[in-house]
Symmetry: C2
DNA sequence: CTGAAAGCGCTTACAG
DNA sequence: CTGAAAGCGCTTACAG
């Protein structure tokens, strides 16, 4: 890095004080039109840009949001990342990206976020270790769990209304005539899989519809293997409700491989509505997660908390909608 | 944000000077074991962590790398993002993520990177506007174009050896008996598509094999539509070489839809080896891009340039390898 | 090896 | 509205 142009340089050229230069570049400060023009001209000429580090040091606030992601394999997340980056940028915030391999985030993973004193944090698809949670709280850094519903009332969380969505999927499949269903679960330690299961089973129980549950892991391979196991086993169900799309695609491939006709012999519904669900070879009926709304909720909360920290914890749920395609 | 613990607080508790605290936390400075222990104990007790902003301000260096991405839709890129984040973290660098929608990056997109005086920049899948390029050069910020080969000798670029790879694909398909081939190109303004085309055609020309070229756009839909057009047209080629996997999957789906047997009636080869290429329903033969090696090259260069800026520009190409599956 | 002091580039009371 | 000055939390010559 080279010696950069500073406010002092601009001040000298513009014939004003360094304070005035600062005021021109700091939103909300008062400067006369004349001073502003002189400063802007000088700044333009020298290629001045305010040093964010000096700024953050003195204001004790940063304009950086930490975004922690785990499952970048699932095409759902790139979409989420893109939308977060775009939304935060609109508000002048940058995104410091952190990738973690752990289900539970260690201090190690987020050390940088703490060192950079990020203004807020978004955590997708992972839990916080108690120690890390404490660090954020002590520093009054607001945190949102995205695509998670927390049992604790210690942090804010935003997700799709998985429970209600799954009830509607159940009713939809019953209306389609299904009398024997299978639920393929995602990782058992995720709220998404648990909530989807709860809503689905509740309706089936009430309506006296038979069902079986298979445990899987939110991956294509997991969905594929589970479906093979089912197809090769005793009885083909009338319908599969699969806890996410990527698994559902694995299920569809396994069914195709075994010559099972969809939707004639059995039906399949996924969850997420990732881009591939709409691909010609799949045409997967699925529940669309309203990513845009979920992102807007998250960003809105963080900005408010950054403005004035309250530590408000709440589980926000956003509605999605069924996208009907060719697998039902 | 709360008033944080500073080096001064630690110094007071440890009974040493603030300078000594600083020395303990600054790699390379000399401190006695006794002082170090006292400081570490006090720091631990208070939960001290050095303020990165003050640090950067005084050292005039940051430990932030800007990562600019365009096509997050293509599953190739999440993979890349993950590997970069992991690699940089190992060296103590954080990743500031920027998403751009433009083929040519505007100042607007990277303004934050300049404001934060990032130590280096990685740009995937996009070009730099002249103005932005100039800003980076003036500030002596090293830049790498990832998955791009530049004609200019102004910036460093790292990509797969697309030319050689495509020559090998051509020879492989000829060996398989193909006598009439189709190349489906990606976006024409990308070096990847051009180089892949050049290598492929060169061999076919030399070996007197017939071929046709179709323009497409590196998307699933694009590949699908192009294949439909070909299948519905005059003559089915013996083989398709498709400029990336995601298009190739579209091609496979279109062929399946039209009842064309692969590899019996025609063969298909993609490029990238994204995860889905290995999925059961596809089993796509493809050229694997050595992401890990490409990332290592990029990171290595950036670290060296950060250490001592030379402005070295060079087009580095890394070899990949053919992954044979069921479509050939 | 250690401490007192200067200074990185800003923001922001405080006078005028 | 504007300028001189203090200070944010660090690193780093400079003495001792």
């Amino acid at each position: 890095m080279k010696a950069a142009v500073t406010a002092k340089d601009v001040a000298r050229l513009a014939g004003v004080s360094q304070s005035s230069v600062s005021r021109v570049f700091f939103d909300g400060a008062k400067v006369s039109e004349k001073t502003r023009n002189k400063v802007m001209a000088a700044a333009e000429e020298l290629g001045y840009r305010p040093n964010e580090f000096a700024r953050s040091l003195i204001t004790n606030r940063t304009r950086i949001i930490g975004l922690v992601m785990k499952g970048v394999q699932n095409p759902f997340y790139p979409q989420v990342l893109k939308q977060f980056t775009t939304a935060f940028k609109k508000w002048g915030y940058s995104v410091l990206f952190v990738h973690t391999n752990h289900d539970e985030i260690e201090t190690d993973d987020v050390e940088m976020l703490l060192n950079y004193n990020v203004a807020g944090v978004v955590i997708t698809d992972a839990e916080l270790s108690l120690q890390v949670a404490e660090e954020f709280r002590v520093n009054q850094i607001p945190v949102v769990f995205f695509n998670r519903k927390l049992d604790t009332d210690e942090f804010y969380s935003v997700c799709c209304n998985n429970f209600e969505a799954s009830r509607k999927v159940a009713e939809y499949l019953i209306d389609k005539g299904a009398e024997d269903m299978v639920y393929i679960a995602g990782n058992a330690n995720t709220s998404t899989s648990r909530e989807r299961q709860k809503g689905f089973f509740e309706v089936l129980d009430k309506r006296n519809v038979d069902y079986r549950k298979y445990a899987s892991d939110y991956t294509y391979e997991g969905g594929y293997k589970t479906a093979v196991q089912i197809v090769e086993g005793k009885q083909l169900p009338d319908a599969f409700f699969v806890a996410n799309d990527i698994m559902a695609l694995g299920v569809l491939d396994a069914l195709a491989k075994h010559g099972v006709a969809v939707p004639a012999e059995t039906k399949v519904v996924g969850f997420d509505n990732i881009e591939m669900a709409g691909w010609s070879s799949y045409g997967l009926t699925t529940w669309e997660q309203p990513i845009e709304k979920m992102v807007a909720e998250t960003v809105g909360y963080l900005l408010k908390e950054i403005e004035a920290y309250t530590g408000l914890a709440q589980a926000v749920e956003v509605d999605g909608s069924l996208v009907e395609r060719r697998t039902t």
